[in-house]
């Protein structure tokens, strides 16, 4: 399956085509990075698609810089799993996504989903976010009673200060 067909099926195919495309991408490892944003969106598809999309994203590694803008949009989705993975991939993008740190700051401060908050804290560290808003948000999160959030935020603060 070539990449254009894969994306076409993933975005617009029938349920079985979408699942097959997601499965194919999950088997490609980092070579599926070209589909980073499409897979992130597919996380909120039906279970048969979503399971493969998530599997693909776990193995994907960092997204290409061309996907960053769409990932930023997806980070503002209403769909929790899509947000989670968009935030994760932005973190994996590291400093390439630094221009969009404010989106993650907002999620860290206001998301109702603790897993998203933790990922946002993690991603801010990975992208070495040093804006005053990011630093303040991380400092606040480092004081959280939630041990994982506070730990991740504290580590991210260390990363942004090195």
């Amino acid at each position: 399956m070539n990449s254009a067909t894969t994306l076409q099926h993933l975005l617009h195919g029938s349920p079985s085509e979408r699942a097959t495309a997601a499965e194919y991408l999950a088997q490609q490892g980092p070579e599926a990075a070209y589909a980073a944003s499409e897979l992130t969106a597919a996380c909120s598809d039906t279970e048969s698609v979503s399971d493969w999309a998530v599997a693909a994203l776990e193995e994907l590694g960092p997204p290409p810089s061309s996907a960053i803008d769409s990932l930023v949009s997806l980070a503002q989705s209403e769909k929790p799993l899509t947000v989670y993975w968009a935030v994760t991939l932005l973190g994996r993008a590291g400093p390439d996504a630094l221009a969009h740190q404010q989106v993650l700051v907002t999620l860290l401060q206001y998301s109702q989903d603790s897993a998203v908050q933790e990922k946002a804290a993690w991603s801010l560290g990975r992208m070495q976010a040093t804006s005053s808003e990011a630093t303040q948000a991380l400092q606040q999160a480092a004081q959280s009673p939630e041990s994982r959030l506070s730990r991740v935020a504290a580590k991210s603060l260390q990363q942004t200060q090195t």
């Binding site: 499965e23 490892g29 996380c43 048969s48 998530v54 599997a55 799993l81 897993a115 994982r148």
Partner: protein, 377 residues
């Protein structure tokens, strides 16, 4: 998206109380130390629940064997070991020793223990024509398989698969852990094992407690025993099944060092801990886990994924304690063993099974130079 731990009762997160003792009343031996951040404080509630034996298994779906509230191994009497020619097929990436024609556990009296990350093992995978049969064939190569990445909302996937494994008269069973993960996408661990050669202790099944949430998918642990005609001398061991988060590998591998040490001390009468799975770390990336005194891993110098470019699956144990290891290990190459193309093999999984061989008899404890039993770290 709900926080992952909200779905599990305190019972489950005190599960370590269910794996620390022998039998109904042995769960909370007061001399079990609290070690590291991964062991919860034992509470009265945990103690009472643990004493119920079978209650500990309420959130993990056991297989065909009934829940053994007495804490004994297995459900059937030992009637001797079958003499089968089953063995891992040739043509696999090898460790130190090539498999011989009688290399199967039932041929030479040894156990073959494997780890297999079966990518997205769920309803859609096992519904593919021939897939269940193929997976069943792979599973039958081993006495005990630790499987990662069971992803299914329904509970029929592993029972259906094991039914297929047993369709040739085999007698495999399984134990399966809870659904784990920080997002809504969750995975389960399972052990599938040949009840003719291995039995599990139903009173020693659980998920490692992780109050500081250091691990994305906390290890699923179960104690097993080689099935022999002399159970008192049979090899017993903990299995610790793990699939780390690829985004937090150093932190998780570090936490697994604590897990390993906790498991070494979980029972005063059990010195063998086999930690295995998809660590998302090569042997050079094992961090503090790899630096534990005497730590040994089987997979070295070969790849373990279907695309043959990563070596993230491994089987680890403390070499001085687990001298039951024979030194034979391997990676089961799906393409070469099953005559599959790369594309077909990837449909099975992006990982290959890794395996190691262990003797069925418990090795005597090593002695100090003056002949007294040595203490393990």
């Amino acid at each position: 998206m709900a926080r992952k731990k909200s779905k599990f009762s305190l019972l489950m997160w005190l599960i370590f109380s269910g794996i620390s003792g022998g039998g109904i009343t042995g769960y909370l031996k007061p001399n079990i130390p609290i070690i590291g951040p991964l062991i919860a404080k034992f509470t009265d509630k945990g103690q009472n629940l643990a004493a119920g034996g079978g209650n500990l298994l309420s959130e993990s779906a056991n297989g065909l064997l009934s829940n053994q509230a007495s804490g004994s191994y297995g459900a059937t009497a030992v009637t001797g070991r079958l003499a089968s020619a089953r063995q891992p097929s040739n043509g696999q990436q090898q460790g130190a020793v090539q498999p011989t024609t009688a290399a199967g556990s039932q041929g030479n009296g040894n156990l073959l223990i494997a780890s297999f990350n079966i990518q997205v093992l769920g309803q859609s995978k096992i519904s593919k024509p021939g897939m269940k049969e193929l997976l069943a064939h792979v599973i039958r190569q081993f006495d005990l398989v630790a499987i990662q990445e069971v992803r299914a909302k329904a509970d029929n996937v592993i029972p259906d698969l094991v039914t297929t494994v047993n369709s040739n008269g085999s007698r495999y069973n399984f134990v399966i852990g809870p659904r784990l993960g920080r997002s809504n996408s969750k995975e389960q661990y399972t052990y599938v094992f040949n009840t003719n050669t291995v039995e599990h202790d139903p009173s020693s099944v659980g998920t490692v407690n992780d109050p500081k949430d250091l691990l994305h998918r906390e290890p699923f642990v179960t104690r097993f025993r080689a099935r022999t005609q002399s159970p008192a001398q049979a090899f017993t061991f903990w299995m610790v099944n793990i699939h780390t988060d690829p985004d937090e590998v150093p932190e998780e591998v570090d936490a697994l060092a604590d897990v390993f040490q906790v498991m070494q001390k979980a029972r005063a009468d059990e010195d063998d801990v086999i930690l295995l799975g998809d660590l998302n770390a090569s042997e050079k990336q094992l961090g503090r886990l790899g630096k534990l005194p005497g730590m040994q891993w089987t997979v070295s110098g070969v790849t373990t994924n279907t695309r043959k470019n990563k070596a993230y699956d491994n089987i680890l144990f403390q070499g001085q304690a687990t001298r039951e290891y024979t030194g034979r290990w391997g990676v089961y190459d799906l393409e070469r063993n099953l005559g599959l193309s790369r594309e077909q093999a990837l449909q099975v999984s992006d990982h290959l099974p890794v395996w190691a061989e262990f003797r069925v008899w418990e090795a005597p404890p090593p002695t100090s130079p003056v002949g007294r039993p040595a203490l393990y770290n």
